[in-house]
Symmetry: C2
Subunit: 336 residues, 2 copies
DNA sequence: AAGCCATGCGACAATTAACGTCGCATAAAA
DNA sequence: TTTTATGCGACGTTAATTGTCGCATGGCTT
């Protein structure tokens, strides 16, 4: 019976939802029967009891009915187990994601990271007791902290997005005291500068709502609508709110740069056709760099961030913009 | 039998390594016996055969011996299955990680993301056929591309780090034609501005090697050494190579900022004591922001990236630095 | 080249646990 | 209180898992 028994128990494990949700035994039995495992409910009961002694399953006994679920903190199952190098890489990835994603989102990946952690910790290497000491991530952006996110709202919104259902939202606009109420169809999620936005459509054109400003969300039993020819990519490119995308054609960038910064560029290329040459204009230790890139806000930030460590030569429009920045900056600090 | 049989099969699954590695049946049997499952090897053989019909297991038959492993492309097992919102969040996380981590590192997380993808794709919602359309990440840094990494080197290095073993490395310095050879003890991994560095110690003081410049790595059968009192955190803080950390005490930052930028700060706080007030100096639509932050290179970049959109008021040392930047920048574009 | 050893695997019998059925206990609903 | 639904213990039957044996095969040694 290896055949049937193991497969059935496996299917059963897949049918059980994770912690906030739960499922009654009879439900699970029904689902199993539908999948072709024709056993009595008694067998399902026994299976559940057995499995719960091995895995992190628990039952919520409301009266006489038992509803089963995967325990929240439980490590879950992750096979094949990551080998040791993979486990270290996973922990590194976790460190990277921490500042990027809302904690609620990160929690969803916990089982994966927990598996990695167990691998690392279960190895009796004396040095590994302090495994966090082996990993450092120092390029996260520690300056700004993402706003708190209501995990229930997030769950509801994602569910609606996934099932293409309409939503009723309470939304707290930035400059109003009282929240507004929207009834909308969700179209997509955009992650922009560390904030999550829900792109929606109501009675008129699509617009976006900041996820962290949604104070309550309720699933409606109505199918979501979507404008014909709407694509999230197109929306993000067109809309003024997300000006981060390229505008226009790629440009041929020519800049002068201090050597220490150019060193970094040598390894992290701007483009495949990037060239780095000694600068011939007489600046000691500077490099001349050419590359084909998209012109967007990101590029401006990147150029600005080097302060006086970079000089834009071409294209002339970009150089002119930098000139204006320099002039405006001068006014701040050397008012005439 | 549920008791023993299921547990044993589970233990067996955990003992099987993933694709590049493999393990012989007798090995697995030994390991099971050591773990207290006293069965004959015949049972193990049968279990393996059964399990391989359900899971992505395969055996490599060299002559008469069978060596088992988890298939490389195989989806593996991931339980509890992420529910639909979690699956979307995972795919979002994957998009975030793509530009941050070397592809080789990302591959190690494939099973997790694959599970999410299967969830999303297996749902027959008509809209979800094009699930990537529902998710956009536009704050990744598309400007610079991380260098290629040798996955075998990465694997070897991580293994050495994990097991605290010495390594023999071929290293290609940035400005030398020929690679050098090092015999070192690994101390840790540092992720810095998108590059991975291996901190090591040889005969003298600890130093770091860029992981992507290591052309070959070989595990030595010798225990790694570590200077007494060495901590990776301390090294990163002290060493000149990683100047990204704070230097000195936190400072009380006072800046003027354009309103559109300040809006973003209102949600992603610089610090918990951050204040945003209308600017009284007469600049129309500007805000005055105060916050307590660490002064580090990151802060300088961040301030610079706004170009003329920000003016530092205090502390005076920082303002002076910005003055100098403005002056230097002016020389680039308005040579006197 | 031949014998030896290790391993895989088919077959078979004995054990054993898994399964369905029945009945009782219990909690919620009526 | 009665009714209904569910959980669970018990029991007998069924069926599968397990250990043992034997044979076949491939590699290694002498």
């Amino acid at each position: 019976m290896t055949n049937d028994s193991l497969l059935r128990q496996w299917a059963l494990l897949e049918l059980i939802p994770r912690a906030p949700n739960q499922r009654h035994t009879s439900d699970l039995h029904q689902a199993l029967v539908n999948r072709g495992y024709e056993v009595t409910i008694r067998t399902v009961q026994r299976d559940l009891l057995n499995l719960s002694r091995i895995f992190c399953l628990a039952s919520n006994e409301t009266g006489r009915r038992q509803a089963w679920f995967w325990m929240k903190g439980g490590s879950g199952i992750h096979l094949p187990l990551p080998d040791e190098p993979a486990a270290l890489a996973l922990l590194l990835a976790e460190e990277h994601l921490k500042p990027l994603l809302p904690p609620e989102t990160l929690d969803l990946m916990k089982p994966t990271f927990a598996a990695a952690q167990r691998i690392v910790e279960s190895t009796p290497h004396e040095g590994m007791a302090k495994w966090p000491e082996r990993i450092q991530v120092i390029d996260r952006n520690p300056l700004q902290k993402p706003p708190a996110l209501d995990s229930r709202v997030q769950h509801t919104v994602y569910t609606a997005l996934f099932q293409n259902q309409k939503l009723k939202l309470n939304y707290q606009p930035r400059y109003k005291k009282k929240p507004s109420e929207y009834t909308i169809s969700p179209l997509g999620i955009v992650s922009h500068r560390g904030l999550l936005y829900l792109v929606v459509v109501g009675d008129y054109d699509p617009f976006q709502l900041a996820l962290h400003r949604i104070t309550a969300a309720e699933l409606l039993d109505e199918k979501g609508e979507s404008p014909t020819d709407f694509t999230l990519g197109g929306y993000v490119n067109d809309d003024q709110a997300f000006t981060n995308r390229r505008f226009g054609e790629p440009i041929k960038l020519v800049i002068r740069m201090q050597e220490y910064a150019a060193k970094h560029l040598a390894e992290c290329q701007l483009s495949t056709d990037q060239t780095i040459e000694p600068d011939t204009s007489g600046k000691e230790g500077w490099k001349r760099i050419t590359a084909t890139v998209n012109e967007n806000e990101e590029l401006h930030w990147w150029l600005n961030s080097y302060g006086a460590g970079v000089e834009v030569i071409e294209p002339s429009a970009l150089r002119k913009a930098m000139c204006e920045t320099a002039a405006a900056l001068r006014k701040h600090y050397e008012p005439s």
